[in-house]
């Protein structure tokens, strides 16, 4: 056996190790995706179906029925579906974390001289990069339906940034949900709960067209802020900006995901340490 060069690096800082470990874990998830691109399907199925159903099948009828001010329904719809895509990525996150626990991969990583936080951070980084691919696919479909962005490049990048923030928040919710789950099957039940949560927002229908008791909660749904803000950035029609949420959409689209992450990330890290009990 050849001698090992394990200790050969000149002691990098703890953070450097954390970053390196995070990237190794993230790359693992991305390599998985190259082997099994069908794992994206779970995430993409609903947004792609939504593009087909709301955009193609019901698009004209819905557009005629609610006359979105300032434009066409499909232009209004697509940013909602982009945010929906970010939200549905949570299923992939939760299943992946739960499978790693059941399969013993998490235990193995915990018995290595690496920081356990990197296991979760790596998952989150992989989620963000995967989300970029998913977003590109849904955008391409949207473009086929006639969606386009009318803003400048800066506005486009800002919109991507807001969607990435939203995905980060959902990534940490997914990690937190996946950690105590006894297996991927149990993780699936959260996924079905997500469906109404993602629809009761400013995603496919403007909140002011919902029953009044529902429009309040719907506009406070974290998805709504991101959807309205990205509609503005893409230059797509955004419905009447009458509510407080709509007026402060951009600020909320930053604040909501940061607040969710600030709550879920420490809880997830505490939970992974508590597994040792």
């Amino acid at each position: 056996m050849t001698a090992l060069a394990t200790e050969s690096r000149t002691a990098p800082s703890r953070f450097a190790w954390f970053a390196a470990d995070t990237w190794v874990v993230a790359r693992r998830h991305l390599v998985r995706l190259v082997h099994r691109p069908d794992e994206l399907l779970g995430t993409l199925l609903i947004p792609v179906m939504a593009v087909a159903m709301f955009g193609f099948v019901f698009g004209d009828a819905l557009g005629a029925a609610m006359t979105v001010p300032g434009g066409e329904y499909r232009e209004f719809l697509l940013p909602g579906l982009f945010a929906l895509t970010m939200a549905f990525g949570i299923g992939n996150t939760t299943i992946s974390v739960a499978s790693d626990i059941r399969g013993g991969v998490l235990d193995r990583m915990r018995s290595l001289p690496m920081t356990p936080a990197a296991v979760l951070a790596g998952r989150s980084v992989a989620d963000l990069l995967t989300a970029a691919v998913e977003l590109a696919i849904v955008m391409a479909l949207g473009t086929l339906l006639g969606w386009q962005w009318h803003g400048g490049v800066v506005a486009l990048l800002a919109a991507f940034g807001l969607l990435a923030l939203l995905r980060m928040a959902f990534s940490w919710i997914g990690i937190l949900l996946g950690l105590p789950v006894s297996g991927p099957e149990a993780a699936m039940k959260y996924f079905s709960l997500l469906f109404p949560l993602a629809m009761v927002a400013d995603t496919v229908i403007p909140t002011d067209l919902m029953p009044t008791w529902l429009s309040g909660p719907a506009s406070w749904n974290p998805l709504s802020a991101t959807v309205i803000a990205t509609r503005n950035l893409f230059g797509n029609p955004a419905g009447p900006a009458t509510s407080w949420v709509a007026e402060h959409a951009t600020a909320l689209a930053v604040a909501w995901p940061l607040a969710i992450t600030a709550v879920c990330m420490p809880l997830a890290l505490a939970r992974i340490r508590r597994i040792a009990r």
């Binding site: 056996m1 050849t2 090992l4 060069a5 394990t6 050969s8 690096r9 190790w17 390196a20 470990d21 190794v24 874990v25 790359r27 693992r28 390599v31 998985r32 082997h35 099994r36 626990i101 059941r102 399969g103 013993g104 991969v105 235990d107 193995r108 990583m109 915990r110 018995s111 290595l112 001289p113 690496m114 006894s182 297996g183 040792a276 009990r277």
Partner: protein, 279 residues
């Protein structure tokens, strides 16, 4: 079969004294466990389901905390220096803890990187381990196409990335067919011959008899007997089977677990019959 003699004067590679652990729901799992494993030996923790074998090994591998007592692995205190322990051990749980979608080589390189080997060193180490565990031909195939024995060997290879001084194996042959089991035993023997201390849990007498230099019989969270396979047999003047029944009050062959261990699937278990007669 095991002719190596335990080196009596050296410090134990694994030692625990009065180890206690209880859970709110399961109650007392470890009830004052005392254990000393001589370096370079294969030591078996033999016992029925629920005896506390897995908990003991998980505690020693720093995966779980314990309530009281002392534990030391490779000269490092488990409670106060878990990082020191982690740097010196390898661990293979009851299920091959590898990524099913990745290839064998990709798994090895990834875990080597997480062991903080440089990229080149990780690739070299992966190639070396693939050869040593006879997995070269399957190296670039996804693990989900591997046989049970190949998975286990890959799992062993991953746990040996850092040439661990002490290797913990939790039921290394559970769910394997006889041929795969022999492959795994062969790999474990080679590791021990290379100087690695192996502590394994098993509920199979045959495995304990043929693989271990010493056996600690465990029941209700403590050691009820210890010795070489020959010594244990001599004690009851019969087979190891009789010794097991005598010590634990239970026959050695067990029906599949009624309650699966924490966070473990119970689907891939092979039939338990067909092991009798050899022990």
């Amino acid at each position: 079969m095991n002719t190596r003699t335990s080196t009596a004067n050296t410090r134990p590679a694994v030692r625990c004294e009065g180890l206690r652990k209880s859970y709110p729901r399961r109650g007392v799992v470890l009830d004052g466990l005392d254990l000393a494993v001589a370096p370079g030996t294969v030591h078996g923790l033999l016992g029925p389901n629920g005896a506390g074998k897995t908990t003991a090994v998980r505690i020693l591998a720093t995966l779980q905390r314990f309530d009281s007592g002392r534990a030391e692995v490779a000269g490092c205190d488990v409670a106060s220096d878990p990082a020191g322990v982690r740097a010196r051990i390898g661990m293979a749980g009851q299920y091959a803890a590898v990524d099913e979608v990745l290839t064998g080589r990709q798994n090895l390189v990834m875990f080597a990187r997480l062991h903080h080997l440089r990229a080149r060193a990780a690739r070299l180490r992966a190639a070396e381990l693939l050869e040593r565990f006879d997995l070269e031909a399957a190296a670039d195939r996804p693990v989900r196409h591997y046989s049970g024995g190949m998975r286990r060997r890959l799992d062993l290879a991953v746990s040996m990335i850092r040439s661990a001084r002490v290797l913990f194996l939790d039921e290394p042959s559970t769910g394997l067919d006889p041929r795969s089991r022999n492959e795994v035993w062969e790999a474990v023997r080679e590791l021990a011959a290379g100087g690695t201390t192996v502590l394994l849990t098993t509920q199979y007498l045959e495995e304990a008899d043929r693989l271990c230099d010493r056996i600690s019989v465990m029941n209700h969270g403590r050691i009820v007997a210890e010795g070489s396979p020959a010594e244990l047999k001599a004690r009851v003047g019969g087979s190891l089977d009789d010794a097991f029944l005598d010590l634990t009050g239970r026959p050695a062959l067990l029906t599949p677990r009624s309650s699966p261990p924490l966070r473990s699937p119970d689907t891939s278990r092979g039939p338990r019959d067909g092991m009798r007669g050899v022990a």
